[in-house]
């Protein structure tokens, strides 16, 4: 009973595995294990095949915990997270307390800030404060949706390409190069000049243009992961390709994916703002921050600052916040990798 990996495993299933997997991500064990991947290999090699599943689940859970820990460790990431929460509360909870009509226009146009309209009204008589909330909703929704769709597809594409290797990999990656050769804004304007964007079409097209980055990153990681010992171990134990991909390769690229997805949100919000400014975005009366800016520019010479700067400030604040999170996460995960 005293020493005994086999005995523990034999006795009560995966339960004793938990503390081991846990401590591996804690700071103490960092010095003892050469790398996270090798640890996975150890686990896979030591645990009988029947237990592999539970072990993997624990590992996956642990990588989320690692990300959560990175937030606590890194002040920059935490600041970014707080900023994002504040902006999200403003956009989604704000309208519950600040009721405005963002569909029908009024005759109270271009009014400077007052008690009734803390940030004034725009040229169609919409309340600017309420419009900032509505515009933020669409911007955040598009940003998050694009990040999720693009990351999911990019990860799948990248892991399949890297895992397949050889000719398939060459063809799949050349396709990525081809789409990357046309700058996003140009490709989008090409499409938008043909089709009138709706919310879903916008998300779809922006995702179609954004999955290339994660696909390349994940493919690169997969190439180096697929020849590691722990993958060999799973294969020897009879694990099929699907299992290797879903349970071992994807979870091990989690750090890269999380960092990249954060930047994706920032990029999508920025691209949406640029496209709205150029007029290729959601049609009125839907509000977007970029669209508000585009509209406000007309009044630059009239000194209607409330129609220009609040939207600009919110865009920059939100993008900076997501970039903070991404940078902070990357630094924390990097440092962790170095410490091992």
């Amino acid at each position: 009973m005293t020493d005994g990996v086999p005995e523990q495993v034999g006795a009560s299933g995966a339960v004793p595995l938990t503390p081991r997997a846990d401590s591996a991500v804690g700071d103490n064990a960092a010095a003892t294990t050469p790398s996270g991947a090798l640890l996975d290999g150890e686990q896979a090699a030591r645990a009988p095949a029947a237990l592999g599943g539970r072990g993997d689940a624990v590992r996956q859970d642990a990588s989320w915990r690692m990300i959560a820990r990175a937030f606590v460790d890194n002040k920059l990431a935490l600041a970014g997270l707080i900023m994002v929460v504040v902006v999200a509360l403003f956009c989604f909870v704000g309208p519950l307390f600040w009721h405005t009509n963002q569909v029908n226009t009024t005759f109270l146009v271009n009014k400077p800030p007052s008690a009734a309209h803390p940030l004034g009204t725009d040229d169609l008589g919409y309340d600017v404060l309420g419009r900032l909330m509505a515009g933020g909703q669409s911007s955040l929704e598009v940003g998050l949706a694009v990040a999720v769709v693009a990351t999911a597809f990019g990860v799948l594409y990248g892991v399949l390409s890297g895992f397949a290797g050889g000719f398939t990999d060459v063809v799949m990656m050349r396709f990525v190069d081809i789409v990357l050769a046309i700058p996003v804004v140009y490709l989008f304007i090409d499409l938008a000049s043909e089709f009138k964007p709706t919310l879903w079409l916008l998300i779809l097209v922006l995702s179609l243009l954004s999955w290339l980055g994660p696909a390349r990153l994940v493919r690169g990681e997969t190439l180096s992961l697929r020849v590691r010992e722990f993958v060999e171990a799973v294969r020897t134990m009879g694990g099929r390709s699907g299992r290797i991909i879903v349970r071992h390769l994807v979870p091990n690229t989690m750090g890269t994916i999380a960092v990249n997805a954060t930047f994706q949100v920032a990029d999508a919000i920025l691209t949406l703002a640029v496209l709205s400014y150029l007029g290729f975005s959601l049609p009125p009366p839907t509000a977007t921050w970029g669209g508000m800016l585009e509209n406000g520019v007309n009044f630059l010479y009239d000194g209607y600052w409330w129609e220009i700067y609040p939207a600009g400030v919110l865009i920059v604040l939100t993008v900076v916040a997501f970039n903070f999170i991404g940078d902070g996460l990357r630094d924390s995960l990097d440092v962790r990798l170095q410490r091992r």
Binding site: I182, S193, E194, L270
Partner: protein, 315 residues
């Protein structure tokens, strides 16, 4: 080395052919037909048939693609029916203006970003480093037109020092005759490009500083200035070549926005107006051109890197 370059050129050609296929598909995605988009919604079936016959649009798609490709290889980007001009002529007319805008901004951005990046690396985590990082972070997170807008609001509207518009004469001599109008567009593009470069320069200079040859130079007793100029600066210039190559698509995108914001008579503005107008031959012609520049930029970056850095060997 030679075989690496040949392989890399081959890759670039494959990518370019792929781009033409995508653009060809985009053309045929047009709701309705190309003929209807060009000669109008009220054209009769007979007129459409005649148009299709005249421009070879009644042939099978693969044949149409090959003839499209053939035209592109011969340098023919298409014909704008709306402006009654070949796309080549439109591009050739605006190209000098773009070379001026992008070229001047690129040179200025490098002149600013390289020394700043090196100073940041040498005085890492000092006051200068934090301020420069902070500024580039905000610029990087800002939609590019917002920066231009702030510059206009401050220098043109409030102070009235500079015109808010780019020179409005369409030729290069006309543009050059109004240098005051060039200041804000070039300043905007320069600042954005700087933000793009400075992060990269800083980390590249930090990498160089950690290299053995710097330590050797120090051990020889060389002064800080000599180390910075003779060793660090020269070696940090190698990644700059790559950086310029891979930043081209970004710079072209920002260029489009700057041209639109300042009404600068360049290819980007011609492209934007064509997209608003439904002038599809110009839209797709410029798209092919932009993709060509992007691919050539990447190719140049890789090949130049392989030639400049003797440590890199691919075969």
């Amino acid at each position: 080395m030679i075989s690496y370059i040949i392989r890399r050129v081959g890759q670039a050609i494959i990518v370019l052919v792929g781009v033409t296929i995508i653009v060809f598909i985009l053309q045929h995605l047009l709701p309705g037909s190309i003929a209807r988009a060009i000669i109008g919604p009220r054209a009769s079936a007979l007129q459409i048939a005649a148009f299709n016959r005249q421009y070879g649009l009644d042939r099978s798609l693969p044949i149409q693609y090959l003839s499209f490709l053939n035209q592109l290889i011969h340098g023919n980007l298409g014909y704008s029916f709306k402006q009654n001009m070949s796309v080549d002529a439109i591009v050739a007319h605006d190209l000098p203006n773009d070379l001026l805008l992008v070229g001047a901004s690129l040179v200025l951005a490098l002149v600013i970003a390289i020394p700043v990046g090196i100073i940041q690396a040498v005085k890492r985590n000092g006051m200068v480093d934090y301020v420069a990082t902070g500024i580039s972070f905000v610029l990087y997170s800002m939609p590019s037109y917002l920066l231009g807008l702030l510059l206009i609001a401050f220098f043109a509207v409030d102070l009235r020092y500079l015109p808010a518009e780019a020179p409005q004469q369409p030729t290069i001599t006309g543009v050059l005759s109004d240098p005051a109008g060039l200041v804000l567009p070039i300043a905007t593009l320069t600042l954005i490009t700087c933000a793009l470069f400075s992060r990269y320069m800083r980390s590249s200079a930090i990498d160089s500083l950690a290299q053995d040859y710097i330590r050797t130079a120090r051990a020889k007793g060389l002064g800080q200035v000599a180390i910075l100029f003779r060793h660090l600066l020269r070696n940090s210039l190698i990644p700059v070549v790559t950086l310029v190559g891979i930043s081209l698509p970004g710079i072209l995108t920002f260029g489009l926005i700057v041209e639109q914001l300042f009404n600068f008579p360049g290819i980007g503005l011609a492209y934007f107006n064509a997209a608003v107008d439904g002038d599809y031959p110009v839209v797709f012609g410029v798209t092919v051109l932009v993709a060509l520049v992007t691919v050539l930029g990447n190719l140049f970056a890789d090949v130049a890197y392989a030639i400049l850095d003797p440590r890199v060997r691919y075969d």
